[in-house]
């Protein structure tokens, strides 16, 4: 087993939190959205494409978490065999992982609930599609804030670049 210095190990925890928490939120949100969409499709088979869109929306949080995790793994030296991180940078990496992870958790669950309601609203009134997408997209902002802060932490914490 390769020797991993403490800073890199901390970055690994950050990567785990990033993908784990964001994935948890995204998974729960997508489950809720999918359950609502399946109900909508059961009543109206034409809802399949629109249901799929609503179900796919809470996927983005997991993508943000996954991207941050990959960046952390690469720039901490765990992937690609680069130089390891200092303890200070390792703590910054945990901050970045927590930012995108917890923001993704809340955002993913919220978006799932809205997406499920939107699928129900669209099957009740097809004209609601555009408005449903807008309402569902609003919950995305929290995940974007988390993702931006994570990137800023990585850049200005000296991990990226």
């Amino acid at each position: 087993m390769a020797d991993i210095i403490l800073g890199t190990a901390l970055a690994a925890i950050g990567a785990g939190v990033a993908v784990g928490m964001a994935g948890l939120g995204s998974g729960i949100g997508q489950g809720i959205a999918a359950a609502g969409s399946v109900g909508a499709v059961a009543e109206d088979p034409d809802m399949f494409a629109r249901g799929l869109i609503f179900t796919a929306l809470p996927e983005t949080q997991a993508i943000y978490g996954f991207l941050i995790a990959i960046l952390l793994l690469v720039f901490s030296g765990l992937l690609g065999g680069g130089e390891g991180l200092s303890v200070t940078s390792g703590l910054v990496a945990i901050g970045a992982g927590a930012a995108v992870g917890f923001a993704g958790l809340g955002s993913g669950m919220g978006q799932g609930i809205t997406a499920s309601s939107a699928a129900g609203a669209v099957v009740e009134d097809p004209d609601m599609f555009a408005r449903g997408i807008i309402f569902t997209a609003i919950s995305e902002t929290q995940a974007i804030y988390g993702f931006l802060i994570a990137i800023l932490l990585l850049v200005f914490g000296g991990i990226l670049g």
Binding site: I32, A33, G106, S117
Partner: protein, 385 residues
């Protein structure tokens, strides 16, 4: 910078930075678990309702609008009503299969059946029990059919092919009398209920006691299925079913008091308990002198203010219709309130069930209006709920 952190950590009494980090992560992990669990818990309680709610919202979108009702009312005759309904898949599949009123009831029974199948486990008992309404309606129809001597085909037109008894409807229809009907009901919960009402039936020759006993069994046990709410959803279901029971009891008492009936006459038709109007209150109401006494006896419940408004109309006309429509309106408002209050739980299912029942009742009013002579579209419109 690393040296600064090490110095701070050491000054705090930690032997090394690793020990400090281990404790810090421990604390953070506990905080994270608390945050995650407290965030996820309410979200997961919504999860079982997302699928059924999407399905009922789809069906809610297919309910007739006011404009569509106006178009149906403007139909020239029953055949035009049928043609109109043929344009809607929910009704089209039954219109040519059954007589019109039965087709409407079958559509409603299908809705009950759907709700019982898709509802989450914590409200399943209530919706399953609600489906027994069709068993009870079928038993009542078959008993009445035997009493008035309807043929097998005529009886078949009255029964609804839903409920637990749907597979033994043929045996029930083929029974020659009530005793044979009771035998055909063996291994169900109904023989004893019917049997208990037979002495009164034999004494009076009226079928009403048998019908009342069956209705009483349904509502009493329906209320019992939701009597101990586990969460917000079951509590709201309790409120809705409780309101239905209360409204039925109040209507019966008002009707009886307006006809001058006494406590002993009304008692067999009252469900022994209710939601806001409990057992002791029901006894008080049944002992009231007249309709005014019933309304003042309801003081302290939500029904008193709404019924007080109808009291002046009753004094003017002597008709209890305004009380009945006020109580029906109150039930619809309760369902709407629950639907809005609990959008991610049982609310949409209760809201839809109530709206569907209202739609079927209104369609039946229109059909009756078209079948009988002398009802203009305006008159029919006024009769709608």
């Amino acid at each position: 910078m690393a040296e600064d952190i090490t110095a701070i950590v050491t000054s705090m009494g930690f032997p090394s930075i690793e020990a400090f980090l281990a404790i810090m992560f421990g604390v953070l992990a506990v905080v994270a678990v608390i945050v995650v669990v407290s965030t996820i818990k309410p979200v997961l309680s919504m999860y079982p309702y997302t699928y059924p709610n999407a399905r009922v919202r789809a069906r809610k979108g297919r309910l007739f609008t006011e404009k569509q009702f106006s178009e149906i009312i403007e139909s020239q005759n029953i055949e035009e009503v049928k043609n109109y309904l043929r344009g809607f898949p929910d009704y089209a599949k039954y219109i040519d299969k059954y007589p019109l009123e039965k087709a409407l009831d079958v559509q409603l029974a299908e809705t009950y059946d759907l709700l019982a199948r898709i509802t989450p486990d914590n409200s399943k008992d209530a919706f399953d029990f609600l489906l027994k309404k069709w068993d009870i309606e079928n038993i009542k129809s078959i008993i009445i059919a035997k009493e008035v001597g309807l043929s097998r085909e005529e009886t078949l037109d009255l029964v609804i092919p839903f409920g637990e008894l749907s597979d033994r409807l043929d045996t029930l229809i083929d029974a020659d009398d009530i005793t044979e009907i009771i035998s055909a009901l063996e291994n169900t919960e109904y023989p004893q209920i019917v049997e208990d009402a037979i002495p009164v039936y034999q004494e009076t020759g009226l079928l009403l006691p048998i019908e009342a006993t069956l209705d009483k069994y349904l509502l009493k046990n329906l209320l019992r299925t939701v009597a101990t709410p586990e969460d917000d959803n079951t509590s709201l279901l309790h409120e809705y079913i409780g309101t239905i029971v209360d409204v039925n009891n109040i209507k019966t008492i008002i009707r009886a008091k307006s006809d001058g009936l006494r406590f002993e006459d009304i008692e067999p038709y009252i469900f022994s308990d209710g939601y806001q109007v409990r057992e002791w209150k029901l006894k008080d109401l049944m002992e009231s002198e007249d309709v005014n006494g019933v309304i003042s006896g309801l003081e302290g419940t939500d029904y008193a203010p709404v019924l007080s408004d109808s009291l002046s109309k009753y004094s003017e006309t002597g008709s209890i219709a305004s009380f009945e429509s006020t109580l029906d309106k109150y039930t619809h408002e309760t369902a709407n309130k629950i639907a809005l209050k609990n959008q991610f739980g049982i609310g949409p299912m209760i809201g839809f069930l109530n709206k569907k029942e209202k739609e079927i009742k209104n369609l039946k009013i229109i059909v009756r209006g078209k079948r009988e002579q002398g009802y203009s579209p305006t008159m029919i419109k006024e009769m709608l709920i």
